[in-house]
């Protein structure tokens, strides 16, 4: 019996989530923050101007960012679909939402495109304030920090609570809401994801246009109309491949 790709993904993401919790409990040699690849982006200005890492950031943030950019250039946003703990928690909430609220409203393609612009604004704001102050002053609005530090030092009190609850409710209503519209790391990955070599392809000759793949995609990518999934948001989660009833119609391939 073939195991669903989702269960392989969930297995890997559970291991990574457990590692992050282990670090967050202070049991590792470094803080969990030292493993945040977005910290690599936040360090760039300090490194460029003063040769120093900002605040609680260090070499691991930067080296992970670089290795993940290489990963994304190879296999699109596979980090987001197969490894990111925030993406994983968001996906679990989204699945729960789908089970409870069967007929969730679907965001139109136009609105989806517009809302995705917010993540670029988040990226610009996060980098501007970090570069200006040298402090991670947006920690209080960052779900990765808020959740794993347990509303620790630097969180913004009741505002952090509101942000976390809003993101959780959003994930419940719109699948992958944070990843789609708010994640600044996703915005950094976008141009590299476009060139990602390993992607899902669709064989038009055996496709019956049943639409299962479109329904399964958590990022609302119109798989059924595409020959190669070059879309910047594709996380190679393989939900569409699992959902396709026609053998080998959707495949994972190396394609330009």
């Amino acid at each position: 019996m073939k195991i669903r790709s989702r269960y392989i993904r969930y297995g890997l993401m559970t291991i990574i989530l457990a590692q992050v919790i282990y670090l967050a409990l202070g049991l590792g040699a470094r803080s969990f923050e030292a493993y945040c690849p977005f910290g690599g982006m936040e360090s760039l200005w300090g490194l460029f101007t003063a040769g120093e890492f900002s605040c609680a950031l260090g070499p691991l943030n930067l080296s992970l960012l670089i290795s993940l950019i290489v990963l994304v250039a190879l296999s699109k946003k596979s980090f987001c679909g197969w490894a990111c703990p925030i993406g994983f928690l968001g996906e679990l909430l989204g699945r729960l939402g789908g089970k409870i609220w069967k007929k969730r409203p679907r965001i139109s393609a136009k609105m989806n495109f517009r809302l995705k612009l917010i993540r670029y604004a988040v990226l610009v704001v996060a980098l501007y304030f970090t570069y200006k102050t040298g402090e991670l002053i947006l920690r209080g609005y960052d779900p990765f920090y808020i959740i794993f530090s347990g509303f620790g030092h630097g969180s913004a009190g009741v505002i952090s609570v509101i942000v976390t609850v809003a993101i959780a409710i959003g994930a419940f209503i719109i699948p992958m809401m944070f990843c789609r519209y708010l994640c600044p790391l996703g915005a950094v990955f976008d141009p590299f994801s476009r060139i990602g070599l390993i992607k899902v392809t669709r064989d038009e000759s055996s496709c019956t246009s049943c639409g299962n793949c479109d329904d399964a995609c958590p990022h609302d990518i119109p798989v059924m109309t595409l020959e190669k999934i070059r879309h910047r948001d594709c996380t190679n989660c393989l939900e569409c491949v699992d959902a396709c009833p026609e053998r080998d119609t959707l495949q994972v391939r190396v394609e330009l």
Partner: protein
């Protein structure tokens, strides 16, 4: 070229390990202070409470006028301080005692900010 779906976990694990080992290429202290040009013995302290640039800067001020301290490098993400000292003037234990001294805050309270977890 068709690929098996296991390519994704393999690539991700490779990227995470690759990133972990690549970090040594960017090793940079959070603070780096030399009080004199002398050479001396070096000890590495893992310090609970040393967690960012601000705490690292505060940590170094505790040794500002301590005789025998030659230099201090801190690595905040690793909670680590590498201290160069003159063993004829100061010992590792007294260096540890200094960092663990309770600090007097502006509101009049005294609190221990740093705790030495290990010395190498």
């Amino acid at each position: 070229m068709k690929l098996p779906r296991y390519i994704f976990p393999i690539l991700i694990i490779a990227a995470l390990f690759g990133g972990y080992f690549l970090r040594t290429a960017f090793t940079q202290p959070s603070t780096n202070i030399n009080y004199s040009n002398e050479t001396g013995a070096t000890a590495t302290f893992i310090v609970d409470g040393l967690k960012c640039k601000g705490t690292a800067a505060f940590f170094t001020t505790m040794y500002d006028s301590v005789p025998g301290i030659v230099g201090i490098q801190t690595f905040a993400t690793e909670h680590k301080a590498v201290i160069t000292y003159d063993p004829d003037k100061i010992t590792k234990d007294s260096i540890k005692a200094i960092m663990e001294t309770p600090v007097l805050f502006q509101d009049g309270t005294r609190e221990q900010v740093f705790k030495c977890v290990s010395i190498k």
